[in-house]
Amino acid sequence: MNELLKVSPSPHVYSRESSPRLMYGVVIALMPAQLAMIWFFGWAAIIVTAISVTSTVIFEYLIQKFLFKQTPSIKDGSAIVTGLLLAFCLPVNLPAGLIILGALVAIGIGKLTFGGLGNNPFNPALVGRVFLFLSFPVQMTTWPVPNGFKTSFTDATTGATPLSILNENYDKIPIDQLMTDQTFNMPGYRDIFWGNMGGSAGEIAAFALIAGLAYLLIRKIISWHIPASILVTVLLFTGILWLANPGNNADPLYHLMTGGLLLGAIFMATDYVTSPMSAKGMVIYGIGIGVLTVLIRRFGAYPEGIQFAILIMNAVTPLINIYIKPSRFGEEVKHV
C-alpha cells in the first residue's frame, strides 16, 4: 500500500476553477450580446462570428503545430474568446477576407509571437481590430442599418454611428439641434439601450452587454474594479464637460451607452493577461482607460477612443504591476 500513497505539499484540495472554465465562462457571458447581434443583423451576424472564431482557432492550431512545433492549446478556449471579441468589434458587412486577415493578425501577431496565452502584452482581439481599422478605414467604418434577417448590405451607411456624428459636429452644431434634427437621425436613449443604432456587430446592444457583465461578476470571473472604474471615470469626465458646456457636449449617459465603451470596459479591458494583477492597479488602469477614451472621443480625430485607450493602458500594465503593490497586511499599524 505504501508505494501507492501520494505525498505532496499542502494544500491537498483545490477549487474547481480552471483556465478553460474561465474562458468558456467569458464565452457564455458574450452570448446575450451574440443573440442581440443576430436579432439586429440576421445571417450577417452569424457569418461574421463563424468566420472570425473558426479563423482564430484554426490559425492558433496551425501556428502552434507547424510553426512552433508545440502541442496546440486550442482546447483552453482562449482562441474562441479572441475570435468572438474580434467579431464583436467588426462591422457585419466586412468582407470575409478582411475578417480572416484580422484573425491572423490577432492570433499570430497579437498573441503567439509573444509566446501564447499569458504572455501577450496587448489584447489580441484589439490588435486585430486596430490593424484592420488603420489599414482599411473605409470598410471598417461602413455600417449597415440594423434590420434583422432583412438587413440589406447594399445601402450601408458610412461612418454613421452616433459618436461619429457627434465627433464631426462638436463645436459646430449645438447638441440640442443634433439630437432633434431629423437629418442626423440620432438614436434616442431607448434605441441606444436596446442597440438600435449603427455600430460594430456586438457593441450596440447595451442591455445584452450589461447582462454579460452581471454573469461575469456573479461567476466571479472578473472583479468589479476594472469595468466600474472605467465607467465611473467616463461618467464623471463627460459629466464635467457636459455641465461646463451643455450646449456642446453629449450628456454622460449618452456617452456611456454609445460606441464600444461597454464592450470594451466589460470584455476587452478585463482581459486577464493584459490587465493589472492587484485591485489597486486595476482601478488605476480603469481610470486611465476612462480618461483616454473621453479625451479621444471629445478632442481627438477619431469618434471612438476605447480601443486605443485600452491598448495604451495595456502597455502601462507592466509598470502598474511593478509600482502599485496591494496593501500588505500589517503595513499600517492599527490599534483600536
Binding site: 499542502s10 492587484s278 496593501s327 492599527k334
Partner: protein
C-alpha cells in the same frame, strides 16, 4: 453582518462529515511511539532508559532550553527502546517506544471526572503547571503554551482570544470539544485569562458551527469576561493574525507578534488541555483526533493517546478504504501528506484525512493567465504569482523585498489558481532560501 477578516481568503467545500459525531475513546494500542520533539523548539531530553517501567502521566523526557516542552508517557508499560522512528514529515526522529501493559496512572492525576471551575492557583503557578504538564498549542503549530503565557517585559496584553474557528475543511475536533467539554474549555479560558492578567476573553467561532455557538452562549454567562463571537465562514480565519483582525480589528505588524497589539491567541483544544493540566494535574497525554474522508466507513472524532500509531486510529474507523490515494495528517489546506500509517499521533495532530486516488491527483501545471486571483485571495496582501516567478529565477533579493517572510503558507493561492500552478511550493522554497540569507546576514 457577521465579522470576518477583510483581506483575501477562500471558501473551500467544508466537508465537515464528522461534525455531529460524539467523541469516542480509542482503545489502548499495543505500542506507542512518543517522539521527543512534538513542539516548536528544542527536542526534550529522555529521562527514562530501555527496560524502565513507566506509568501513565509520568515524565519521560524533560524540556531543554527556553523554547521546549516536557514529554509524558501516555500509557503504562515498559520502555522497549529509545530509537529513531518516522514522523509526519517523513523524517526519522528520536522517539521513546513503549510496550503497553495495563493502564496504571500516576496517583497525582485527578480522574474523578468532576468539573472543577474554581481557580485556586496564582498566575505564576498556572504558568508553571502548564510547563510541567507539557502543554503546547494544539491547533497545529505546537508552540509551548507556558511561553505564550509569559508576556514579555515592556509589553501589555489586554485580551485573550480563543480560536474556535476550525477553518480547515473536514476537521471537527475543536467543534466537538466546544460541544462536549464546553464548561471545561471555558474554565481553561478563565485560567489562561488569569495567567495573562486580562479581563477580556473572546471566543471566535465560524457560523458553520451553530450548535457550538448556541451551547457556549448559553453557558458563558457563568464565566466572567468571556464573550462568544460568531464569524463568517472564510479560510484562513483560524490564522492568528486573521482572527485577531476579525475580532478586534487590530493588525499585527509584519514580523511582529500578536502580543505587540495586546492580544494572545490560544486554541480551543489548548484551553481544554490547560483545564486538565491546572485543575486535574493531568499532563498532555491524549487529544481529540478527527478521522475522516469521503470513503471511510466510520468517520469520527476520537480521544487518542499521544504516540498511538495512526494505523490504530484509522483501523478503528473501519480501516483504509481500497481506493485511498493520499493520507493527510492535519487539515486539507495545511496538513502534511504522510507515506506511512506508522506515524504516531502527536500533540499537534488534529486529524487524519484519507483521500481517494481521484481526489489526490495533482493536475498538470498550465501557463499563468495573469488573472490575479492569487493576489486577491492572499490574506497577507502578497503577490503569489510574483513570488513564484522571482523564486524560479532565483532573484532572492527581490523575493525578500516582496515580503515573502510574511507568508503564512495557508495555501489559498494554490487552491484558487485556475492554471493549477504550484504557487505555494515555490513560495516555500523562496521563504527557506530567504530565511537562510537573513540568518547568514545576522551572523556576519
Amino acid at each position: 453582518m457577521l465579522k470576518t477578516f477583510p483581506k483575501g481568503g477562500v471558501h473551500p467545500s467544508e466537508n465537515k462529515i464528522t461534525a455531529g459525531t460524539a467523541i469516542e475513546v480509542l482503545p489502548l494500542p499495543k505500542q506507542v511511539i512518543i517522539p521527543l520533539s512534538q513542539h516548536i523548539g528544542a527536542p526534550a531530553k529522555p529521562v527514562v532508559a530501555k527496560g524502565d517501567k513507566v506509568k501513565t502521566g509520568q515524565v519521560i523526557a524533560s524540556s531543554q532550553g527556553f523554547v521546549s516542552a516536557n514529554i509524558h508517557s501516555s500509557v503504562s508499560g515498559k520502555v522497549l527502546k529509545i530509537d529513531k522512528a518516522i514522523n509526519s514529515s517523513g523524517y526519522k526522529q528520536v522517539s521513546v517506544i513503549i510496550n503497553v501493559e495495563d493502564d496504571e496512572w500516576l496517583d497525582t492525576i485527578d480522574r474523578t471526572g468532576k468539573l472543577k471551575t474554581e481557580i485556586v492557583l496564582t498566575g505564576e503557578e498556572i504558568v508553571k503547571k502548564c510547563a510541567e504538564n507539557g502543554i503546547v498549542g494544539m491547533g497545529g503549530a505546537t508552540f509551548p503554551t507556558h511561553i505564550k503565557l509569559t508576556v514579555p517585559p515592556g509589553k501589555k496584553c489586554d485580551v485573550l482570544i480563543i480560536n474556535g474557528v476550525e477553518c480547515e475543511p473536514y476537521l471537527t475536533s475543536d467543534h466537538r470539544i466546544m460541544i462536549e467539554k464546553g464548561r471545561e474549555m471555558l474554565t481553561g479560558t478563565r485560567i489562561l485569562m488569569k495567567a495573562l492578567g486580562v479581563s477580556k476573553g473572546m471566543i471566535g467561532i465560524e457560523s458553520n458551527k451553530p450548535d457550538a455557538i448556541a451551547h457556549l452562549n448559553s453557558i458563558a454567562s457563568g464565566f466572567e469576561g468571556i464573550t462568544v463571537h460568531p464569524l463568517k465562514v472564510k479560510y484562513p480565519q483560524g490564522g492568528e493574525k486573521q482572527l485577531i483582525k476579525a475580532l478586534t480589528n487590530r493588525e499585527v505588524p509584519s514580523g511582529k507578534l500578536p502580543v505587540d497589539v495586546g492580544a494572545v491567541v490560544h486554541n480551543v483544544g489548548t484551553a481544554y488541555a490547560v483545564y486538565e493540566a491546572v485543575q486535574l494535574n493531568k499532563p498532555l497525554i491524549e487529544r481529540v483526533v478527527t478521522v475522516t474522508g469521503k470513503d471511510i466507513e466510520k468517520p469520527g472524532n476520537m480521544l487518542v493517546r499521544i504516540g498511538t500509531p495512526l494505523r490504530s486510529v484509522v483501523d478503528a474507523a473501519g480501516g483504509v478504504p481500497e481506493n485511498t490515494g493520499k493520507i493527510v495528517n492535519g487539515g486539507p489546506m495545511m496538513g502534511k501528506a504522510i507515506n506511512s500509517l506508522d506515524v504516531p499521533v502527536t500533540k499537534g495532530t488534529s486529524g487524519v484525512i484519507l483521500f481517494s486516488v481521484d481526489e489526490s491527483k495533482r493536475k498538470a501545471t498550465n501557463p499563468c493567465i495573469r488573472c490575479g486571483k492569487c493576489v486577491s485571495v492572499c490574506p497577507l496582501g502578497l503577490e503569489p504569482y510574483l513570488l513564484m516567478t522571482l523564486t524560479e529565477k532565483e532573484f532572492y533579493d527581490r523575493v525578500e523585498k516582496e515580503k515573502v517572510m510574511d507568508c503564512i503558507e495557508c495555501g489559498s493561492c494554490s487552491y484558487i489558481c485556475p492554471a493549477d500552478r504550484p504557487l505555494l511550493d515555490y513560495i516555500r522554497l523562496g521563504k527557506s532560501e530567504t530565511g537562510k540569507r537573513i540568518r547568514e546576514r545576522k551572523q556576519k
